[in-house]
Every structure is written in structure tokens, then in C-alpha cells.
């Protein structure tokens, strides 16, 4: 993956506000099956997550992988083998160098919250070399039992519907739940209780602490017509204003989207199960059916490169083959 430099009038400009940013987001790539993140100088840098990129130079302090929307149990034409594609994702993760220290799963682990679906995912993820996995629920993980089975399985040390935070190598991770108590006509929702907890959670952190927020539904408004956003995310982001580096990782929309707003970088990851259409380019956001032999290419890599210099970053999408 070549580092690219280009002039682009659409480039977002990162604030040059004196906050220590020794590293730059300079070489970032996504694959259909996951995202690799490396902390370098306190700033998250991602690396390609696909065949032929495992030896990409990586001298960061911390590497982790985000996977999302495994939809275990889904068996419709868009992908009749979600077990197979999740296994492929894990094999790719295990082939990375250096190895990620942990995995983040940004929800819709299961398709219908069935115990056997969660069992299947747990079994497959056991084959990952990284043994630590952090989850947040998608709406498909909390069906019909108020989230009881999700919380029993994944909710240890979490609060409320399953939110929590943890620290890794000086970096603060916040897992949020925005898929419960949704209001008619609305978007994703964090709710008052969770927002209060979050305000308290970050209150005593130094502004130089790099923050990673992960949640299922995007915490920025991607496409409200399809519910791709979170009603009260502005409040959550307001609590993060003092921080020099904030990275927001989401799933739910089964495709890559990115936005940079000041010091906050938003990303959505692809699904390991099936693609969804681009906003407004289909009658509904339902699973996008592609010919079976093209499924991998649809889930394939999309490169996004952060360009070093002038505190700007560029996004360059590309396909695997």
C-alpha cells in the first residue's frame, strides 16, 4: 500500500492547537473483514488488513483489530455462509504482523440473539491469537429478552445496557450502547444515564489521553433517512472536547464511512457477513445481494490513506481486485 499525497479540496483539516500530536494518521486501510489499529505516538494509525499487507511496517505501541456485524445466524442469499466469512476474518487477523493485542467487536454479533448464534461466534473467535475481545451490542444482540443473555455472556464489568471503559497503554477506550430504548421516528440513542456515566468517566483524564469510542450505530449522522446516526451523540462528543485525539469506531452500516471533525475522527467498519447499500442508493438499507463469486470482492479491502504533513488527511478508496 503506497502512501499517497495529493491535493484535495475536500480534505478535512485537523486542528493545530498545540496538543501533542507526535504521530500522524498516515497510512490507513480497511478491509472487508476488519480494521487494524496501531497506536503510534498516542495517535491511532491503522494498517491494511488483507492479503499481502501483513508485513506492513508497523512500529506502533499498540495494535488492535476491529471487527463488526458478524450476524451469526443470517442465512439469506446475501451470504449463506456467515460462519465461513467470519472464520476467514479470523484467519486474516492471525496472519497479521505484528499481532493485535486485542479485538473490538462493534456489535450485531448474532442475527437473532439466539444462544447457538453467540456460541458459534465465541467458538470461532477462540481461534483468534488475540485472546482479549471487547464487545458492544448491536440491536440484533438484544432481541426479546431485554439484553439478558447478551449481558450474561459479554456484560461482565459493564454498566446499564452494557457500557464500560478500559485503559490500554495510556489510551482510554469507551464502549457505548446506542441500540436500546429507541424512540419512534428517531435514531440510535445513548440515553441520559449513559451520558452522565460518560461525563464522569472522562472527567479526570488528561487532555493528552488518546480516546477511542466504540459503539454499534454511527455516532455521527451518516444518513438519518435510514436511521444511520445517534440522536444524542452530540452530547457525548461535547464531553470529549478537551481531548487532542478522539477516534470513534462504529459498525451497523456494513460499509466504510469516514468523517473528520476537528480533533475527532469517525470511522465505520465493514461487516464480516454481508454488505449494505450506499446511503439512498437502494429502496432500503437491507442486505445487498451480489453474485456469490463477487461476495469477497464486495467485502474486500478499501484503502484509506492518511497523508502525512500539514495536519491533513486524505481518504482514497480502492477495491481488492
Amino acid at each position: 500500500m503506497a502512501e499517497q499525497k495529493q491535493d484535495n479540496p475536500n480534505l478535512a483539516v485537523l486542528d493545530d492547537d498545540g496538543v501533542d500530536r507526535r504521530g500522524f494518521l498516515k497510512c490507513m486501510a480497511w478491509a472487508g473483514t476488519g480494521l487494524v489499529w496501531t497506536m503510534s505516538g498516542g495517535v491511532p494509525v491503522s494498517q491494511a488488513f488483507a492479503k499481502g499487507t501483513g508485513n506492513h511496517a508497523n512500529t506502533g505501541d499498540l495494535t488492535f483489530v476491529q471487527i463488526s456485524d458478524s450476524h451469526m445466524g443470517f442465512n439469506k442469499p446475501a451470504n449463506t455462509d456467515v460462519i465461513g466469512t467470519l472464520k476467514t476474518a479470523i484467519e486474516q487477523i492471525n496472519g497479521l504482523a505484528p499481532q493485535p493485542e486485542f479485538l473490538l467487536h462493534t456489535g450485531d454479533i448474532s442475527h437473532l440473539s439466539k444462544p447457538e448464534e453467540f456460541d458459534n461466534v465465541d467458538q470461532i473467535l477462540k481461534s483468534a491469537n488475540a485472546k482479549e475481545i471487547f464487545y458492544v451490542p448491536g440491536e440484533h444482540d438484544l432481541l426479546d429478552d431485554g439484553g439478558k443473555s447478551y449481558l450474561e455472556r459479554y456484560g461482565k464489568n459493564t454498566k446499564g445496557a452494557g457500557w464500560y471503559s478500559f485503559d490500554k497503554k495510556g489510551m482510554h477506550f469507551i464502549g457505548l450502547v446506542n441500540v436500546v430504548n429507541l424512540k419512534a421516528g428517531g435514531l440510535g440513542s445513548l440515553g441520559h444515564e449513559q451520558l452522565e456515566w460518560m461525563e464522569d468517566d472522562v472527567q479526570h483524564l488528561k487532555p493528552s489521553t488518546p480516546i477511542v469510542v466504540f459503539a454499534h450505530i454511527p455516532l455521527w449522522t451518516v444518513y438519518p433517512e435510514w436511521g444511520w446516526g445517534t440522536d444524542d451523540s452530540a452530547q457525548a462528543l461535547a464531553y470529549l472536547r478537551k481531548f487532542g485525539s478522539v477516534t470513534v469506531l462504529n459498525g451497523h452500516i456494513h460499509q466504510i464511512m469516514q468523517k473528520v471533525e476537528g480533533k475527532v475522527t469517525f470511522h465505520t467498519a465493514r461487516s464480516t457477513a454481508f454488505p449494505q447499500p450506499e446511503p439512498g442508493k437502494a429502496p432500503s438499507p437491507g442486505p445487498m445481494k451480489v453474485p456469490a463469486d463477487q461476495l469477497k470482492s464486495v467485502l474486500g479491502i478499501t484503502d484509506v490513506n492518511y497523508v502525512k504533513g500539514k495536519h491533513t488527511l486524505a481518504v482514497v478508496d480502492s477495491t481488492l481486485g
Binding site: 437473532l112 432481541l143 436511521g227 432500503s284 437491507g286
Partner: protein, 115 residues
């Protein structure tokens, strides 16, 4: 003995049939229309607004590849998660307007007008 029983049985059937026939016209009038269907397709309810008579049973059927869940906006009725081709029925026994939505995809909304 055997023949006597058969005759008794026939008489009983005839009486039952008469009783049913007598009750039929009023039942038809009282319960028409008694059922209506709403299709869930492409993340929307069709028709989005449905007007029915008091006592109508409304059935939602999910034709999407993704599960949905019907819920009255003000409570009242709530389905379990409906996977593809699953149905949910609710009988509206009081006049009024009942807005509802999909509690998994809240942008999906609809309305039942019962009169």
C-alpha cells in the same frame, strides 16, 4: 337400538345446523371487515396508514431479510422479533388512532386508525 341412536344423532345435527344458520347473518354484519394485513417490506410498513373498523384483527407480516419488531408508540401492543415471513396479529377493540413503529429500526413508522 342402533337405528334409534342414529335417528337421535341426525336430529341433533339438524338442530345444531338450524341454530348456526339463525345466528349467521348478524355475525357477518358485526364482524365485517374483521381482518387486515400490513406488509413489512424494504424497511417500511405498507400501507403506512391503515383504517379499520372496531374489532378488526391486523396482521403484520415481515417480508424483509432483516428482522423487525412492531411496537405501539404509546405502548398497548408489541410483537416479538419477527424474522423473515413471521407474523404478528393484534385486534383493535376500541376506536382511536394508534401510531406504531419498529423498535429495532425506529425510522419505520405507521398508523392504525380504528373507527
Amino acid at each position: 337400538m342402533r337405528r334409534g341412536l342414529q335417528v337421535a344423532g341426525l336430529v341433533a345435527w339438524a338442530m345444531l345446523a338450524l341454530a348456526l344458520l339463525a345466528g349467521l347473518p348478524s355475525r357477518i354484519l358485526a364482524q365485517q371487515p374483521q381482518s387486515a394485513e400490513i406488509k413489512i417490506d424494504n424497511f417500511s410498513f405498507s400501507p403506512a396508514t391503515l383504517t379499520v373498523a372496531v374489532g378488526t384483527t391486523v396482521t403484520w407480516i415481515n417480508r424483509d431479510d432483516i428482522p423487525h419488531r412492531v411496537a405501539g408508540t404509546d405502548g398497548g401492543f408489541k410483537s416479538k422479533t419477527l424474522d423473515t415471513d413471521d407474523k404478528f396479529s393484534y385486534t383493535f377493540s376500541k376506536a382511536g388512532t394508534y401510531p406504531y413503529f419498529c423498535s429495532l429500526h425506529p425510522k419505520m413508522t405507521g398508523k392504525i386508525v380504528v373507527q
